[in-house]
């Protein structure tokens, strides 16, 4: 025990002295950077970790090419220990297509945000899905353009706070959200479609399962796979970091519902 | 005639607010003003600077200037390049509570203000930048105290209007601590 601000606390600056076992090395080993620049309480790093853990666990590290869109998550494209192809805003699925067609043995996934994928690049992901392209697209959906300051995107749910909709999005003025995962599940050519979230540990674990399943689907050559991950953006939602997980559950997840929307592997079975 | 004022500090100290209050006040007094703020990334504790140019005619200086007549130093960390720009006959207001580096006294008149302490006394550490602003106004007359006091409310977003009073108090306290007209910003003929 040690003293901290006048309280008796457990020392956490070193491994325990009593016999103990590391539960797992939680330093995500394919993420190079110790200290990234994303905001406090951001959900994106949590999703990134899940994806990279899945890459590592599936043993595809040495044939992985990650294709990144442009958003806050782009901060990671420079700091991963897997090969990365950085795309422009919205264009990652087409680049991923080019990579996969040119190198069919590569394991290819994209990391994009809702602004990237449902605003600027909606067409590309739908065409890629319809083509049945054997790649995995991961969308980090926070319902805002985090990077530019928290504006409404095409996924922002009715009632959600964003910089343009400080009183909450309303359909009359701002139109309706697009439920991308649902749309993609309805397309022939998609093999696996799921939506997770990182607002609590349970959902983090579930999301990692979904990403793993999507990746397995690609490895099995079943066609297009897709995982949407709802992530907290306290900055763009203009709320406290601690409110964000619940805000996600009550708002985003109430519309973009969490679950596996399509799995042809199971349908076949 | 143009008067340059450089402000430097670290994120969260209120540098940009102080700059805005001064600029707003100067406009109210009929001056032309130009203000450019820069932030060194989005981390807390990062660099934050502002350049203000006040003129009795249209401002012609570029957004960032090569030399300056005055400065307000709220934090040491990024101060050296700012101090290097001060011209002979310049004046600088320094927050002694966090700054130790001293500008060259041969070129620059230094006004030392224990801004944090004074702000703490008023009940809000975050108002330290207003203390320094008040002291700067006293020492230079670039803008008047009243114009600054008016400028605070205009410079704060609606959700921060409740801090107007404490900021005005800090401004006045700073004004009181500093010597009057140590280096006059304006010759008599261009006084507001």
């Amino acid at each position: 025990m040690t003293e901290h601000e006048g309280r008796n606390v457990v020392p956490t600056d070193r491994p325990p002295e009593q016999p103990a076992t590391l539960v797992r090395d939680f330093t995500p080993d394919l993420i190079d950077v110790g200290t990234h620049h994303l905001c406090p309480g951001c959900g994106e790093p949590v999703a990134m970790r899940a994806a990279l853990e899945a890459v590592a666990e599936l043993g595809v590290v040495q044939r992985t090419i990650g294709v990144f869109g442009i958003g806050c998550y782009t901060a990671f494209s420079n700091n991963l220990d897997v090969e990365v192809l950085q795309a422009l805003h919205g264009r990652a699925p087409s680049l991923a297509t080019g990579v996969k067609r040119a190198k069919p043995a590569a394991f290819v996934f994209t990391v994009q945000g809702d602004g990237d994928m449902v605003n600027e690049g909606l067409q590309e992901v739908i065409h890629t899905a319809a083509r049945g392209e054997n790649v995995t697209c991961i969308m980090l959906n926070n319902g805002v353009f985090g990077e530019t300051g928290g504006h409404m995107t095409a996924t922002t749910v009715i009632g959600q706070r964003t910089k343009n909709t400080l009183e909450g999005r309303n359909a009359e003025d701002h139109g309706h959200p697009i439920l991308l995962a649902n749309m993609l599940a309805g397309i022939d050519g998609s093999a696996y479609v799921a939506r997770g979230a990182v607002n609590n540990a349970h959902n983090v674990a579930l999301t990692k399962q979904m990403i793993t399943a999507a990746f397995e689907s690609q490895i099995a050559g079943r066609g297009f796979s897709f995982v949407e991950v709802l992530t907290m953006c306290p900055t763009g939602w203009f709320i406290d970091t601690t409110e964000a997980p619940e805000y996600l559950a009550d708002n985003l997840a109430a519309v973009h519902q969490i679950g596996v929307l399509k799995d042809v592997a199971r349908a076949d079975a | 005639m143009e008067r340059e004022l450089l402000l430097t500090g670290i994120g969260g100290q209120g540098v940009q607010l102080a700059a805005r209050v001064i600029a707003t006040a100067a406009i109210a007094e009929g001056r032309s003003v130009q203000m450019f703020g820069s932030y060194g990334g989005m981390m807390r504790g990062g660099n934050t600077d502002a350049t203000i140019v006040v003129s009795d005619a249209r401002v012609e200086a570029p957004p960032t200037v090569g030399h300056a007549w005055s400065a307000i130093v709220m934090h040491d960390q990024f101060a050296p390049p700012i101090l290097a720009k001060l011209i002979p006959g310049s004046i600088v207001v320094v927050n002694t509570d966090v700054c130790s580096s001293k500008p060259d006294p041969a070129r620059t008149t230094v006004v030392e203000v224990a801004a944090n302490e004074i702000a703490d006394g008023i009940g809000n550490r975050l108002a330290a930048s207003m203390v320094l602003t008040g002291a700067y106004a006293a020492a230079t007359g670039l803008v008047s105290l009243d114009a600054l006091a008016e400028g605070i409310s205009a410079s704060l977003p609606s959700y921060r209007q409740k801090t107007v009073d404490v900021n005005v108090a800090a401004l006045r306290a700073g004004f009181e601590t500093a010597p009057r007209d140590l280096a006059a910003a304006w010759p008599a003929e261009v006084r507001a």
């Binding site: 343009n164 | 600029a23 003003v33 130009q34 450019f36 957004p63 960032t64 030399h67």
Partner: protein, 356 residues
């Protein structure tokens, strides 16, 4: 006159609305985002519409649609977003529509895109490059005047400094001149036997003749471009050029640094002059040539790898050597802060030109 402290982005937005702009569409990109936010706030109050378009392609499309109705309209982005708009920007010109387009650029690498048109085919946009917020306010108003006068898009070329510098400016609304919008669509000419057409492929319905005649249409667009190029008054700012041994040319915000460096050199007795093109297209070639008439050397500062220097050389046409003293200068963020924009740095570069 009422002076307000406005950041450039806000001043530009206020100036647009003051000039009658009633439609704006954009997609966020720093430092254009700032203008978009102000337009989103101001336009509804003014009875106009601001669309948070889902992408730049959609933004330019919406602006195109609104412009076709004769509504004073604008859009824009930051260089990269404008790249996406090039197809439309080229064809809006062929459709002979008025439209103001902002490029809140990062540095000055988009000079070619702006002045030559990054799209396909032969078209030109009028390009105005303000150096400070007050000038931006004036040029934005002028842009609306020009775009309606010539039925041709006008580009306002700004930058990060312009967007983020706050200045005391007067944004009192000005009376816009009469605008002829007899060509504009509102539906009412339907069923009259001569319903209007707004199209990049032809300017009017060819009743009973199937299809378009592109040869005719492009020829008439080319004639309009030629007339416009000749008709738009080139604008420069020049200082100390009489008897200047070296004249420095720069545009936009860097012009202000160059001007400061030139003044400081003149104060030290160095015979140096300064000229700043304000209209980038039509390029004020004669004025630049005149400003450089006495010079034994011309220097060009641009915050890019050298683009406007072509136009300077085309103006000076070998009468004096033209030296490039610019170069891409950016801080690590890439947004547009240029470390080279420093009066001392520029003084030194100009002195080097003297030493050659």
């Amino acid at each position: 006159m009422s002076m307000r402290l406005l950041e450039g982005s806000e001043a530009i937005a206020e100036a647009m609305v003051g000039a009658g702009c009633r439609f704006f569409a954009g997609y966020p990109m720093t430092p254009f985002t700032e203008v978009l936010e102000h337009m989103a706030r101001l336009l509804p109050e003014a009875g106009g519409v601001c669309m948070n378009a889902e992408s730049e392609l959609e933004a330019i499309g919406m602006a195109w649609g609104a412009a076709a109705t004769g509504t004073p309209a604008a859009t824009g982005s930051t260089g990269q977003g404008l790249s996406l708009m090039q197809e439309s920007l080229a064809e809006i010109t062929l459709a002979r529509l008025p439209l103001v387009v902002l490029n809140m650029a990062r540095a000055q690498g988009d000079y070619f895109q702006a002045t030559r048109g990054g799209g396909h085919g032969d078209y030109r946009h009028i390009v105005l490059a303000p150096a400070d917020v007050a000038e931006a306010v004036g040029l934005v108003r002028y842009a609306f005047e020009l775009t309606f006068r010539w039925r041709n898009p006008v580009l306002v070329f700004g930058d990060y400094y312009l967007a983020h510098t706050a200045t005391s400016v007067d944004i009192t609304e000005v009376e816009a001149g009469e605008r002829d919008v007899s060509w504009a669509l509102n539906g009412s000419s339907g069923g009259t036997g001569s319903a209007k057409l707004v199209s990049p492929l032809g300017a009017f319905k060819r009743k009973n003749q199937a299809g378009y005649n592109l040869a005719d249409h492009y020829a008439s667009c080319a004639a309009a471009t030629t007339e416009m190029t000749a008709g738009v008054k080139p604008i420069v700012e020049a200082e100390h050029t009489d008897g200047a041994e070296v004249v420095v040319v720069a545009f936009g915000t860097p012009g202000r640094y160059v001007r400061a460096a030139v003044r400081s050199l003149r104060a030290d007795g160095v015979p140096v002059g300064y000229v700043r093109p304000v209209t980038l297209y039509p390029f004020p070639g004669e004025a630049v040539a005149r400003a450089c008439a006495d010079a034994r050397a011309v220097a060009v500062y641009e915050n890019n790898q050298g683009q406007m220097i072509d136009d300077v050389r085309l103006s000076v046409l070998g009468r004096a050597p033209v030296h490039f003293i610019g170069g891409l200068s950016l801080d690590s963020s890439g947004f547009g802060i240029a470390p080279d924009l420093d009066v001392a740095v520029l003084r030194a570069r100009i002195e080097e030109v003297f030493a050659r």
